[in-house]
Structures are given as C-alpha cells and as structure tokens.
C-alpha cells in the first residue's frame, strides 16, 4: 500500500504539471464531436440516435493521445527504470499510471457530455448513471491502454502501433459502453442496461487484474 501511495503521489505531481496536454486532448475530443455532427447534418433524430456512438468514438480517439503520452516523462531520463531499481513495485507503478489515465479519460468523457447534448440535442434523463457508465467504460480503456502504452513507448511509431494493438482488445468494452449509453439516453423498455453494465464491470475486472500482473514482465529487461 505504501508503494501504491508513493506511485499515486508521483502521478499526481506529474499530472499537475501537464495541464497543456489535457487541454489539447479535450479540444481534440470536442473537435471530433463537432465533426461528427457536421457529417450527419441537421437531422436531429439521426444525431440523437448516433450520439452514444459518437461520444465513445471521440473518447476512443482521444484515449490514444492520452495513453501514448503517458510514458513520455517516464522515459525521458529512464525515470521508470530508476524507480524499479529503488526498488519500487512494478504493480504499484502500473496501477497508479492506469488510475491517472483513467481519471483523465473519465473527466474528458464527463466534459464532453454537455457538448454532446448541445450538438446532438441528446436526451440526458439520468446524468449520474451516464457518468457511471463513462467511468466504467474509460476504466476498460485505460487498463489495457496503459499496458500497451508501456509496451510501445520505445517504438518510433508508437502513435500508430498503440491503436493497432489496443483497438481490437477493447472492442467488447466499447460495444458494452455504447450499448449501455444508448439504453440510458434513448430509453430502456426491456431493462437491459444493468446486464450491459455488469458485462462492462466484468471486462474491467479482467483487464485491471490481468494487466497489473503482466506489467512487470513488460517493463523489465
């Protein structure tokens, strides 16, 4: 627990100095939502129906920026290696990094909701439940995303490699997230939202436990 707290403290310090990249990711996500609305045109029925998909598409695209850059500071002067040699627990380092990425993506998702409502005239009958789905969905993106970001951080084309590896793995998470968001926003006459939420929760549990176990092998020589 001491190691995890130390790693979380480190992430907090690093995130507090990285406001500009956060703003860039927010602008990127907002631009993606805006472009989708232009692509569909002024058909509000169509926009409302597609809003959940567009929201998650914007989040997925933004996540590649956030995740790819999350190991930049760790690699600049081999700070990650320095921590592991202290010795710091690789598992603690992973979970702190994944939590930081999760917080960023979840906040981004929540920040995009008002824009989605404005651009797509979307219904928001249960905003807190929607925020919960966003939290679960982004957790499913950040856990494997952090692992793959660590794997690809030294590759010259990491911005290309990361989505190639990550996207196929997170398809089930995205489907569950889009489905649960749709049911929340467009109505849920069959009461299916909880089964999708449960599925999302199961994917998260698998990703968070497996990736935590694998991280040490990925970052060690």
């Amino acid at each position: 627990m001491t190691q995890l707290l130390a790693a979380v403290h480190k992430e907090w310090l690093l995130q507090s100095r990285a406001v500009a990249p956060l703003v860039a990711v927010l602008v990127f996500g907002a631009t993606a939502l805006l472009l989708f609305s232009f692509a569909v045109g002024p058909d509000y029925e169509l926009l409302r129906g597609n809003a959940p998909g567009f929201l998650w598409l914007a989040l997925l695209l933004s996540s590649t920026l956030t995740l790819a850059e999350s190991f930049q500071a760790e690699m600049e002067h081999r700070a990650l290696e320095g921590q592991l040699l202290l010795p710091a627990s690789a598992t603690a380092v992973y979970y702190a990094k994944a939590l930081a990425n999760w917080a960023q993506l979840a906040l981004l998702g929540i920040a995009l909701v008002p824009l989605m409502v404005a651009l797509y005239d979307a219904n928001l009958p249960r905003p807190l439940a929607l925020f919960g789905i966003i939290a679960l969905g982004t957790a499913g993106l950040s856990a494997p995303g952090t692992l793959y970001a660590a794997m690809t951080h030294q590759a010259r084309s990491r911005q290309t490699l990361l989505p190639l590896l990550l996207f196929p793995l997170v398809v089930p998470v995205l489907i569950a997230s889009v489905k649960a968001t749709s049911l929340l926003m467009l109505g849920d006459p069959m009461g299916q939202v909880w089964s999708w939420t449960l599925l999302l929760f199961a994917f998260d549990a698998i990703h968070w436990s497996l990736c935590g176990l694998l991280f040490g092998r990925v970052v060690e020589d």
Partner: protein
C-alpha cells in the same frame, strides 16, 4: 563460495543483438572494498554495472550481490544496491525536492522538506530545491542524481562515470561522497575514465577491453601500467 562477497561475478556474458558487450568476465569484491572499472568507450563498463544493478539481465554466467543472485532474487539485490547511472532517472517537469520526495516515498523514507533539504545541501543544491529540473544544467542534474543515490542504503554502491559533466568542485564532491559510502561500510564499484582519481580512491581495479577482462589488480597500479589510456595497456598484463 562467495556468499559473503559484496559482489561475485562469474563467467558473465551479455550481448546486444549479435555483438557481445561482455565476454566471460569474472571477479569478486569483498564487503567494504572498492573497485575501479576502467576501459575505453564501449568496453562494457556500463553494461557490467547495469547487470549488477539488475537493470538488464546477463545472457550467461552468474552475478551475486551480497549472496543474492541477480536473476533469481532481483528485489533483494535492488534493495541492497544503489546505482548512479548515465541516465539521471529524474523528472524534468518536477522540482529537485519533488524528485527526491518520489524516491524517498518509494523507499519508505521520510519525505518531508526538513528531511530532504539537507541531502540537497550535501550536493550544494539546497538553494535550487524548488526549481524544476528542466532549468538545471547537466552538472546540476548529476548532483541531484548523486543526492538520490545517497537516499539509498545500499551495501553495494555502483557509480557509472560519477565525474561526468561535473566541474572541479563537483569532482571533490564525488570524492567526498565516495568516502561517505565507504564510511557506511558499503562496497563501491566505480566506472571512470579518470584513472588517477579512481586509483586514489579505490582499493582494486580492473580494465575491460572489448567486453573482456584485460587486467585486474591493485588500483594504485593501474595508472602506472596503463598510463591514462587503458587501451594502451601492454600485452600480457592480464
């Protein structure tokens, strides 16, 4: 058996791709003793130190630190070694104090300003405690990296080119810290090109050439045998 040795290296080999960086290197270092590692650029000095610190794995041979194998018992080795590497292991965006705080927290040490500023004072950086590392010169980063090394209570201290990027007062600082490590009872393995300086500090010396152990003996003999360039060591001195 070398179980009580601070360091016991036997038949150590390591390669990068097809090129062998270390070939069949063997030596021992007793607790509390110091060893200078000399050799030209690319002779395998840093690779040797990085293997001992468990940053990279050996391909063949065994390395034991205070009785712990670097392959089997990484965590135990890491808890007993402190490495000053070529890389500073620092975060550019954070201040000197914050960088030390991170290391102190991972080590379970007191991470307060009161506990860490004296460490910065020891490397003459106390006045820059709250400045971001990105504003530091290369020499100041090296000093901060030295302060970080001081945080660790290693039975084996590994110094890879500790004088690099430092000014003359910095050289004296390294000499002083070297004495501090020795006074704490730690064994010290130092890779350096400054043979006279290293010979004055260390008990033993060895020269690597092309990844092979070329010469080993008392450190005071090294400058005489090799002049200031270990590559000019006479044939047959191994």
């Amino acid at each position: 058996m070398g179980d009580t040795d601070a360091l016991d290296v036997r038949g150590l080999c390591r390669r990068y791709g097809r090129r062998w960086a270390l070939v069949d290197v063997s030596f021992r270092l007793a607790p509390g003793r110091s060893l200078m590692v000399a050799g030209r650029n690319g002779s395998g000095k840093s690779t040797l130190l990085r293997i001992v610190a468990t940053a990279i794995r050996p391909d063949r041979g065994t390395v034991s630190v205070l009785g712990h194998d670097v392959r089997q018992d990484r965590e135990a080795v890491r808890g007993r070694t402190a490495l000053l590497s070529h890389a500073s292991y620092l975060y550019e965006a954070l201040t000197a104090l914050e960088n030390l705080k991170i290391a102190a927290r991972f080590l379970g040490r007191e991470a307060t300003r009161a506990a860490l500023v004296p460490l910065l004072a020891e490397v003459e950086l106390a006045e820059r405690a709250d400045d971001a590392v990105s504003t530091f010169s290369a020499g100041m980063r090296k000093r901060l990296a030295l302060a970080r090394t001081l945080l660790q209570d290693g039975g084996l201290v590994l110094l890879d080119e500790p004088y690099g990027e430092l000014d003359p007062p910095g050289f004296r600082l390294v000499d002083r810290l070297f004495a501090t490590f020795k006074a704490k009872g730690a064994a010290v393995l130092m890779a350096t090109h400054l043979l006279d300086r290293g010979a004055a500090l260390c008990d033993e010396g060895l020269v690597l050439e092309g990844g092979r152990l070329r010469w080993q003996g008392p450190a005071r003999d090294l400058p005489e045998r090799g002049g200031l360039d270990p590559a000019t060591l006479p044939e047959g001195t191994a």
